[in-house]
Amino acid sequence: MARATARDRRRLPAALAVPAVAGAAFLVLPLIGLLARAPWTDLGSLLRSPVVADALRLSLFCATLATGLSALLGIPLAWVLARSTSRFVALLRALVTVPLVLPPVVGGVALLLTLGRTGVVGQYLDRWFGISLPFTTAGVVVAEAFVAMPFLVVTVEGAFRSADRGLEEAAATLGASRLFALRHVTLPLIVPSLLAGAVLSWARALGEFGATITFAGNFPGRTQTMPIAVYLAMESDPGAAIALALVLLVVSVAVLAALRDRWLPRGGAV
């Protein structure tokens, strides 16, 4: 009797257990639905079709390039945000994280109006350098970097903030310029956060749809990434859409697993 009571006390209160189970089901059931409706028998041939192969290759290629671009521009930006004492830095921080909350389609429209052939900046790119980003693979990379870079910036800025300033000071007294200290002291120390930020933005870029289709359009092999292929296939060939979705699911889960196991516990700052 006493044991039973003790056991009861250890049980989750229903007020928590019910919504918790509902929440878990809400998140997990759609994945199960996807698996349940997957055309397993045709999966092999669907995945070998050139459309899928092209879309997957393009997705991986563009997401990786977008992550590289995000790191190249985002790490210096994060450093400035973390280290600047300017009054305008708070405003700048708010502005550069806007793409985090902006609907991606809006981001795509903004990109089109800015970097498009007739855009505010794009018209000069086109006129002076003959560069036109929309409807190109480079355009996909730009659209993905636009939505993905804030993830890296936010993560890395947090890491810079929590990094030991004392070590940068020590480096300075040893004759290191700020750039040298950044390269040889601070960056090596925030590698876990850098990787976490890179993986987050890579995953975001891989799943990017709205900004990409708006800015870069859709053409198989050139700008048709996996999410666009899924979306368009859904209208004509739901089986193929599910097959594509499964591939994205597998890649996402793999990335998430890598992130959880290797970086999140230590990185912390995410």
Partner: protein
């Protein structure tokens, strides 16, 4: 999948669901067939509630206008319009999206529904054909359909799974032209937008779209003998939450007044 477009659609669907649910709860006799006696808008004031209409993108202007007249003729009714590629709408309806009426830009997508039992007895109410549109400035100096095949000309057309894409492929094949489009847009309005913004040199859109956007794009006449037409069927859906409203709206479209609106927008007679 966190796709903004599908989120928007889901939002619409939820709104439609809630509204139709409310309408069903409010209307005193939801099951009463009002269609038997209705012969046109204005003749049967018994129609109430919300009518949810899924219509092809190319019907945006005309159906918006017809819906306004319909609401005026039937006080207390609300028409909720959802425009997208016909194929996308057909997929949504077969997946259970709550719609009362479906107006398609191709017989094929309507056939998908009739064969699934989701719709019966479709009526063809209009036809449409393609035209080339160019930005007002006409940067690539497009003068004929054949110019679209020139190297360096950026062309936007619909993706092959949607009716305007099917039509575009048919037209180009008939003309014996090989065009490599810069982008295959998910629906005809996206094509028009890319032309309007000047991001592409030319687009293949419906004649009706060229009429609607006459101020911002210029239509280039199609050579005789190559154009193809698509038929627009409309049907009340079997699972309509507001069958009386659905019937009345279909009648309104095929009424003399409705056909006049369509004709004024450039649609061909059925």
């Amino acid at each position: 999948m966190n796709r903004p477009l599908s989120v928007r659609r889901a939002g619409l669907a939820i709104v439609a669901l809630v509204l139709s649910g409310m309408a069903a709860a409010c209307s005193s006799s939801p099951g009463t067939p009002a269609s038997g006696s209705s012969s046109g808008p204005g003749s049967t004031p018994a129609v109430t509630g919300t009518v949810t209409v899924f219509a092809a993108s190319s019907l945006k202007e005309t159906f918006t206008s017809i819906a306004k007249r319909f609401e005026a003729a039937h006080p207390g009714t609300t028409v909720v319009l959802s425009f997208a590629a016909s194929s996308a709408l057909a997929t949504q309806i077969t997946s259970g999206a709550p719609a009362d009426v479906f107006a398609s830009a191709s017989a094929k997508d309507m056939a998908t529904l009739t064969s699934a039992g989701a719709a019966t007895a479709p009526t063809t109410f209009a036809t449409n054909s393609l035209t080339v549109v160019v930005p007002s400035a006409n940067p690539a100096q497009i003068a004929s359909l054949a110019d679209l095949a020139r190297a360096g000309v950026k062309v936007a057309q619909c993706q092959p799974a949607v009716p305007c894409g099917v039509l575009a492929a048919k037209v180009l094949a008939t003309a014996g032209l090989t065009v490599t489009p810069a982008t295959l847009e998910p629906d005809v309005k996206s094509v028009l937008t890319k032309v309007r913004l000047g991001e592409v040199d030319a687009g293949l859109v419906y004649v009706t779209d060229a009429v609607a956007a006459a101020g911002s794009v210029t239509a280039v006449p199609m050579p005789a003998g190559v154009n193809a037409t698509t038929a627009y069927p409309i049907a009340a859906l079997s699972h309509a939450a507001n069958p009386a409203g659905a019937r009345a709206f279909v009648d309104a479209v095929v009424s003399a007044e409705g056909l006049a609106v369509l004709k004024a927008a450039g649609f061909g007679a059925p």
